[in-house]
Each structure stands twice: as C-alpha cells, then as structure tokens.
Symmetry: C2
Subunit: 651 residues, 2 copies
C-alpha cells in the first residue's frame, strides 16, 4: 500500500549490527493521511500557496536562469553580506534544491502533473548545469570558475551540494525518476575526490554543515559505502587542528584573524565534534551538524558520537532554548551566545534553526526512543516553526522575537531566503514526524487526526486517529487490520502533561510510561478503540531564574501551545499589563478568530501614570483592571500590526 | 578679590535691553573655594591625575605632533568610523583644545607654572599651525588641504573651531595671555567670510554643533558684533531648506540618501531650530546646540528661541532622560530614538551628553531662575557625569549603562576620546556650577562645602558653606561682610526634597519657594548663620509606566544620589534579586568604602531554581532571603568587575 518507489532502498531500519536501540524510521509520506482541523489548513496553504509563490520568487530573483550559463548571469541581488564577501547568489542552488525537495514531498501525497512538470524542468536545468567533471554550482560555474573550493568557510559550496542531495533523494522517492539522483551521485563522486584525508586531497569540511545529513540520506538509498565514508570523514575531520578554515584563508591570501565572525566556533569547527559539549556559533549550522552526527551515530552504532549529541542536546535544552522552541538569540552570528541568554525583544531565533532542531530531534527520538526529543520537536513545531509563516501561507518570518514593539512583520521574501523553502519542505513532509516504526512497533509521536498505514506482523495495519489536538487532549485511536496480530503500539505522553488517562476498549490502562511513551503490547484486533486523555489546563510557566530576560515574568502555555498577548486584543504598551498570580486564566475556542484558535482570558492590571506623573517619581503608578486575552504565539502578526509579548509581568 | 583678568570683558550680565529675566552668571572660578568631603577628592584627582594623564595620551596618539606640518603626520589611528569616511584624527584639535580649556580653569584656581608652560607650549603649537589666511585645523592642513569646508556634516571642522574658541576664552581668562585668543579671532574672521548668507558664501552650519556656544563665549569677552552675528547665523540657518548638508554632499559627489545616519535629524538639521519640539539625533550635538540657542536667546532677549529651548527641555526631561541624568539611549546614532525608550543594559548615555546637558541646564537656570534646571543639572552631575571617571581619576566611561552583566568597564583611553577632556574641563570648572549671581542676588545652586566671594551692594561678601551633602541634608551658610548690606540670597530647594526647614540665626523662615528657590531678602550682617535642613530619606523611585525597560521595577535614590547594586556587594545574577516594597531600606555612611559613601541596605529575596528545575517549568522558582546593599551609581565599577543594576525587581 506504500507508493511503490523504484529506488534501491526505501528508508530503512538501522543495520542490525548497530548496538544502539533498534531505531525507528518515519512512515513513508504516502502512508500517512492527515485530516486534522489544526494541521490540514496549514499544510494546505503551504502546498497550494507556498509552492507556487516560492517558485515565482526563484524565477523573479533569477535563481533558475542562473543555471543556464549560455545566458548573461542575472544581476547580483543586494544586499551582499559581510563586506561583499558573500552574496545570496552563492546559495541560490540550495533554494532551488529545497524547493524541489518540498515539491517532491508534495507529489508523494498529492500527485499533480503540473507541479511534476515544473520539478522535472528544474531538475533538467540542474542536470544541464552540471559540468563534465560532475561539478554543479551555478554561482562558481557562472561567475567565479577559478574560485571553486577556495573558501568553504564562507561560500556555501558543500552546503548547496547537500541540499541538492536531499532534493535528489526526495525526488526519486516521490517520482521514481533518477535524473537528479544520478547528477548528485556524480557530484558526490567529485566531492569525494576533492575532499578527504588522502594525498592531494583537501582536508576540508563544510563551512555551513548540511551535506553530512544529506550524504546519510543518500547512503540509505544508494548503499554506496563511499557516501557513508564521505559523511563520516566530514563529521570526524571537523575541528581537527591545524584548522582547515585558517589554512584555506591563508592559501587565498586572507588573514584568518579577520574572519567576520571571529572564531571557528561560528561553524562548530573549533574542536573535534566528539569533544564538543556546548552548542555554539551559527544555530542552523549547529543543528544540521548535530542531525548529521546523529544519523552517522545511528548508522555506525557509534555510541561515542551519540553521547556527544546527547551532551549537546542537554546543553541546548537546559540553557539555550526559547520557550517557543526557538534558538540562537543573536543576530550578530545568527546563533548562540552564552548560557541563559534568551532576550525576548531581540531574539533572532531564526525559523530555519527551529526547523533544523526538529530534524535533529526526530533523529534523536528515532535512535533513543526518548520522549524528551519528541517534546522539543513538538515545542518547536507548534510554536516557533509555525510562527515562521503567515496563516495565508504567503509571508515569512526569518527571525522570531518573543516581544515586539510592533515593528516585526513577516516578509514577502528575504534577501537570504533560506527559511521559506525550509518551511515548505518541513510542512510538505509533515507526516514523517507524526509516526515512526521499527520492525515490530508503531510509534505515535504527535497527535494529529488522520490515519497511518503500516505493515506489522506480516499484515497491513491501519491506525485511525481522531482528536482536536492541540486544542483538546482527548485522542481516540482505532485499529483496523484483517486478522488479529501482535505488535507494539507506543503512545507518547507529552512532557507538558499531567494526569494522562488511557483506556483500551473502555478498560483503563496504566499510563506509567517509559521515557515518555506508554507501551501497549498485545494481540490487536480490528476496531479496538484506544482513548488517551491528556488534561490541558492552562499552565503558568516560569523560566529558570538564571534567564535574565524572563526574571519576574510568567508565560502561558496550554498543551504544547505557547501563548502571547497582542496589542489588538489587549492594549497598547503591553509592558504595562500585569497578570496577577491569583487571576484565573480560562480557555475557550474561538472558531472565527485566526482560523480557529483556543484563546485564554483573564483579569489583569494595567499600569497607569499617577496624576501629572513625572518621568521619575517617588509615587508609584496606579493601575486599572483590564481583560487580558492571549492568543497562540504561532498565530501572531496575522491581524493589525502591533505589539506582542510572550513573557508577562506578574504580581 | 577676583583674579584680575586683563581681557576686554569678564563674563558679564546680560545686556539691560534683554526682556528676559535678569540672567545670572557664574562666579569667577577663583572666587569659589571648594573644601568639601565629597567634591574635593574628585576635583583633586581630576586636577592631579587627569590633566597629566590626558596630556600624555594626546602626546602618545600623535595629536600634538600633528600640529607640526614640517614633520611626517602621525599615522591614522584605528578604528576609523563610518566606512572610512571619518577618523578620530579629524577631531584631535578639539581634544587639545578641551585639554587647554581644562588646564586653564585649573590654573585659575590652582596656579602651577609647570602646567602653565605645558599650556603655553600647546598654544604656541596651535599658533604656529595657523595658516596665513587664519585657517587652523591640523587634519585638513596636514593631510587633506583640498578638502577644507567640503563636508561639514561629517568632518568636524567647525566643531574643532568651537573648541579652540572655548580654549582661547578660558586661557585668556586664566592667564591674561592673548595668543590663543588672537589666533581664534583670526580664525573666526575667516569662518565668517566662508559661511554666511552673503553672495559667494556657503550657507552652511556645523555638522557637530559647538561653535555656537563658543562664539557666544567669545562675544562676551570680545564684544565684537561679528561674533554674535556668526553665532546667530549658524543657529538660525540650521535646518533651513534646501538642506545644506544635502547640497554639500551632492557638490562633493556623494548621494545624500546614503548618509550613514539616515537623516539630517542626526544633527538636528531637519528643520529650523525654532520649529523643533523633540530632542532628536546625536545627543551631544543636540545638547551643544540647545546650549548655544539658550546663550543666544539670553543675549538677544529672544523669547521665541527661549521657548524652543523650553519645549525641547520638556521633551527631554519628561520622555527621554535616564534617572542618572544620562541621555541618548542608542549606540547606533549616539543619540535619541523614541519616547520612553530608555533601555538599561544597552544604554549609550554618553558621558559627554550628560556633561553637555549640564552646560545647557546651567544656561537655562541662569536665564529663567527656575530650579527644575538645577535639579537636572544636579542629577547629571552626581550620577552620570561622575560615573564617567574612576575614583582614581585614571579611567573613563564613554557609555554609561544602567545594567551590566559585568562586561562594562572604564577605558584607559578611547578611540574617540571626547569624554575624558570633557570631564576634565567640567570638573576643573566645577565651581562655576555651584553659585551664580545677578546684580543684586547671590544664588546657591548646589550645596558644596567651601566659600563664595562676591561683590554685592558695593562691598565684598563672603558666604561660607558647611555641609556633608550629598550624604546629609544639613547645610549651614554663614555670611561675612564688612558692613551690613542689603542683597538677596537665593537658596535652592531641590526637587527631590520634601519637608525642607530653614532658620536664619535660629529663627524659622518659611521655605515656601518660588520655582525651586527660597528668596531671602534682608539687610545682612556678618556672622549670620543660615541653616537649611533637607531631609534625606531613602526614596523608592518609579519610572513613568510608559518606560518599557523599567516596568515593574524600582530604583533607589537618596538626596540627589541614585543607587545601584553591584555583584560584589550582593550576589551574582542581580536579576534574581527582588526588593519587596515592604522591606525597609536604611542608610549609613561607610567611611572606608569607595572613598566614603553612604550605602543603603535592606532585606531582599533571591530567586532560586526549584529542585532539578528545567529551563521552563510550571513550578515557580523558590527564593532565599538575602541582605541587599546598594552603592551610589557614580562609584560603580571601582572594585572587582561584576554585574551592576540600577532598576531592581520589586514585589
């Protein structure tokens, strides 16, 4: 019942040799049906608006035309970045690749001949742009043919290659067409000649990680050991001394000390990855690297490498992550700063970084089966990730503040348009995050109404899910299978929930869970009804006291959804709003607001200046009582422009 | 008893024709004796350390040598500013001039032949550097002779000229030597040829205001109407359309739209000054302009111009001033942003800006006699200004945050060293801010132990002041004069005080005051003892609710002194400290701390993470009780490096 995909291997379970826990893999996209009041509209606008809009932007900026070297190269867009050293044109190929990848996922669930033609055309352009030796990069071939492989630190060649690989894997899986796969296999063969530990090779690695996880995807369908070896080389060579980026800078006549971002921490290349304990540098680079490390650890059964991933995960989630699942607070390096530095009004929290965290979390969950990875995956998805795109699917946030004076708004397009196609591909492949499976287990990681189809115990099993999650915590799962069969169903008990209750065919089942999942092992019959009840009271959330930006403040969360105040619902100057600890916060669903959201309401206070109050006064301000309405953070900035605030004053 | 100064005019009262209130003038520096436990050490290190240290820096950077064009010009220091368009070398002459001005004030109160020789040498170098046509600017003469007067917006020529004028006036008043005065008179004559409304003249004005107030100082000793006229021209031409800075940019081949600071608001040149209602742009520029406007308004009896000053004052002090008397919150433009934008941890609040506010406040006070100007003068002096220099007189803050994570420290020197010599000249002329006088009145504006000498009602009057201000509000003033005489004594009742009490020779006198001053009119005899008692309870201060950065926070002030917490006295992570409203704050003097300060102590709370607290938790943090000690803000960063915080959490 899966779409037949004539490729060497469909996504496969880990090799039996791996000493790690039998890792789970996502279900094929075509085997996941999503019919959900919350997600279906989001996925629909993404598919029906996003794919075409973004294709239009790629045409308009000239990214597609840049693949045709017989025409004049399209002008360099402004702004250029870092004193003219880097231009967005350098990563146009990655934008095209992410679009192909996203469109391919869409074709897997929603066949569309018109779209398939557009994809085929883009693939054909890429194939035509490939050079005789396998090289494929429109910027360097079209504009700077002498500068190939001379500045991997800044110039994104391997990054673009990585996205081409991901696109190729998605394309062949969706369509069975091998053109792009063969293109990237030739390109990878060239890269493996250029980079490596052998004589005459460059001992380099990517400035912007991405190709590592891409090579692992490629290896899983190619089973070509060179692909695995190259990924392994890139991961292990990273951060070795002497520093490749410094040698490379000297070789091209630059002073490594004048690197715009100061240190090789920027690209997580300051020390070998197995010795890294802190998430540092550019956040997207970091997440892509860690995702690739996790893939490699799983494939090789490399527990040391997995341990590094776990240390980095702990560092991120205990000290450097926003409540919205955003990460990388600083605009300066698009990345990390220091422990507990999580400013709200200047939060960078790039949409791509939250998406990349979802990628990493998915892998960690697959390897360890630990629900804490699912918790963070869910946190990012329902908050920072979804905030990255407007409800109409047409505008995008690049950075995601948690407090706005009213001057933060989504873009039609961005000079560095990495986030929109990243959203596009995440949402077109959303089904891959909902379920996963091992040989004998079906895991439900997110609660989304719809259906999963999976072969277990030798027969086709269908699991139907009914729920109004995230607005309601009642979930009904129903099995459908021809013959009774024994397999394991794993149901996630979210970290945010307390008092979960479970029945199977009306009989209470203990919700004692192992690492965030209840394990149901039994002989299943068709029509068995599993009811999971996750109470969803409104939660006041406090940050760890070390978080300076949130000191004395409280946030509101219900289920996985983080809330915010918007000026349009409350009052201007949201910093004057106080939510007393004693004030009861109630939730109700508003079907006509923001395409249907549960809002929170409470009685609050609003500071007022005392009469003729000076700028500074020994008389405290007064206050009036106001009604406070909070809306889901992901839905903010979809109405009148105005202030927004996640962390609220309390008393 | 004044030092005889053989110049045409000592600082003089406004012309009788002026319709404004009979304005007050400062007492000559030599007539003010400061013997004060608080100020004397500050003035002493300034004089004994600051003057020599800063001279050394001027030598070391090459600023003095740059005046000798027969030698190779010293190298351009880095960093250059604004994409190479501006270099600190462009304002080296102003640094030298401010140093001469400061040293001259010092010579007035503390004659010192060695220093006088250094000053004379610097003056001689300047005189030698003057060109035949009167031009005097080491940068343009030495390095870019073809670029004179081509970029007044950015290149500080008139700014440097202004400081040379101020230096010349101070020098002649201190020493009677006219060399520098004659140099600047020739230079001003050239400037008056180059700039003006006549045919063939440039209709320009300074990019960085300063020369306006300098010309007014010059005019008051020269009585040369050309000096007044040039000041008047610069003030009135400013902001006229078409915009001179734009025409000038086009003339040199630049695009005005690419001005690094966006708009002519940066230099208060966006509209005629009489139409300005908002303090905008670069804060130091703004303050110097407004000071010059006030001078001109006073001189001409120009009530319209004074009204503009008053509107701008109201705007500043009701919406855009830090509690420390700092101003200009943004590093980007070294200046103003929008109403109530007063961030604490990124406060720019340049030391020069607070000093310049003191200059402006002094003038507004002189013209209006309104104590609210003295209140802000005092606020800046006791807080932001004094914070600008270390207690040992050797290090300087350029920007003055109100909250530090521990990484803000005073500089030995700064790439743009405007603030150190500004502090130097303010502190060597500190006596000028303590008293002022009119024909028949002696005003006591600040309470500083020591003595004032002044001729009133035809005879020498001496007023002795005893006080431990600002640590104590008890002030005893004693008169000394040969014969009984009738004159008016004006004693300031600070805006921060409540319940002031006053006796004259033991008899209670009503402290009902007129605009912040008690007026004592009587026939005074020698030995009359006036006791003013200003109660100094610790005050909790609240910011206007519109100030986002201070929402829910409280500051501590006692008398004019604003307090802060320092990590060394309290605890790391000062954001975890809470001062309950119910907690009594007590004051006591610590003679051995920070050269003797009154500290505040209270019981506070310190947030603690709950057990195994996650980064985000639905369990609030706990707290422990801690002792909280606050020290005067001006004295911070004189011990171990650490965090600092003015605005405290409360509960």
């Amino acid at each position: 019942m899966s779409t037949p995909v004539p490729v060497p291997n469909t996504p496969q379970l880990l090799s039996a040799a791996a000493p790690l826990r039998e890792a789970a893999v996502p279900l094929p996209l075509a085997d996941v049906l999503i019919q959900d009041h919350f997600w279906t509209p989001r996925l629909q606008v993404n598919r029906e608006q996003g794919i075409d809009i973004q294709y239009g932007h790629l045409q308009d900026v000239g990214a597609l035309d840049a693949l045709d070297f017989s025409h004049p190269q399209p002008p360099l867009p402004i702004p250029v970045i870092n004193n003219n050293q880097v231009t967005p044109v350098m990563w146009w190929d990655s934008d095209i690749a992410k679009w192909i990848e996203a469109a391919s996922y869409s074709l897997e669930t929603h066949p569309d001949p018109r779209l398939e033609n557009l994809v085929d055309d883009a693939v054909a352009r890429l194939a035509k742009a490939q050079q005789a030796d396998g090289y494929l990069n429109s910027y360097f071939t079209g504009r700077e043919p002498d500068k190939r492989w001379t500045n991997e630190r800044d110039w994104h060649e391997l990054y673009c290659a990585g996205h081409l690989i991901e696109a190729a894997v998605a394309h062949v899986q969706a369509t069975g067409k091998r053109t792009l796969l063969e293109v990237v296999e030739r390109y990878v063969a060239l890269i493996a000649q250029v980079y490596g530990p052998g004589p005459g090779q460059k001992r380099g690695y990517p400035g912007h990680e991405e190709i590592e996880l891409a090579l692992m995807k490629l290896y899983r369908i190619s089973t070509n050991p060179e692909h695995l070896a190259l990924a392994e080389y890139f991961v292990n060579e990273r951060g070795q001394q002497p520093a490749y980026f410094d040698l490379e800078a000297v070789a091209r006549g630059d002073n490594p000390a004048s690197f715009a971002f100061g240190s090789n921490e920027y690209a997580q290349a300051h020390k070998p990855v197995r010795e890294q304990n802190e998430v540092v540098g550019h956040a997207v680079r970091a997440m892509y690297l860690y995702a690739g490390m996790a893939d490699l650890a799983a494939e090789l059964g490399d527990t040391d490498l997995l341990a590094a991933c776990e240390r980095l995960w702990d560092d991120l989630t205990t000290k450097r992550l926003y409540i919205t699942g955003g990460l990388g607070p600083s605009k300066d390096n698009e990345g990390f700063t220091f422990d507990y530095d999580l400013p709200n009004d200047t939060a960078y929290a790039e949409t791509c970084a939250a998406i990349a965290l979802v990628f990493w979390a998915q892998r960690m969950l697959a390897i360890t089966g630990d629900g804490r990875y699912a918790d963070e995956m869910e946190r990012s998805l329902y908050n920072n990730v979804l905030a990255g795109v407007s409800l109409d699917g047409r505008k995008y946030f690049y950075d995601n503040v948690l407090e706005s004076r009213g001057d933060n708004h989504r873009w039609d397009w961005h000079p560095c348009p990495c986030c929109p196609p990243n959203l596009l591909r995440l949402l077109t492949s959303f089904g891959a995050y909902v379920y996963s499976r091992t040989e004998s287990q079906l895991w439900v990681n997110l609660y989304v109404a719809g259906e999963a189809q999976v072969q277990l115990a030798g027969q086709d099993v269908r699991l139907k899910v009914q729920t109004e999650y995230p607005w309601d915590g009642e979930i009904t799962l129903t099995t459908e299978l021809a013959q009774p069969a024994t397999f394991i169903l794993k149901l996630r008990i979210p970290g945010w929930s307390q008092g979960a209750a479970l029945t199977v065919d009306g009989q209470a089942v203990d919700t004692q869970n192992d690492q965030g999942y209840v394990t149901l092992t039994r002989e299943w019959k068709s029509g068995t009804e599993i009811r999971l009840s996750l109470p969803m009271p409104v939660q006041r959330v406090w940050a760890h006291p070390a978080v300076r930006a949130d000191a004395g403040l409280v946030a509101l969360q219900r289920g996985p959804v983080v809330y915010c105040l918007e000026e349009t619902d409350v009052h201007q100057h949201l910093h004057q709003v106080v939510l007393p600890d004693t004030s009861e916060v109630t939730a109700h669903f508003e079907p006509s607001l923001l395409e249907g959201v549960t809002v929170l309401t409470a009685q609050g206070r609003y500071d007022l200046p005392s009469e003729n109050m000076a700028l500074y006064s020994s008389t405290p301000p007064g206050a009036e009582t106001i009604s406070v309405t909070a809306v889901p953070y992901y839905a903010w900035d979809n109405r009148e422009p105005g202030e927004m605030r996640v962390w609220l004053r309390r008393s």
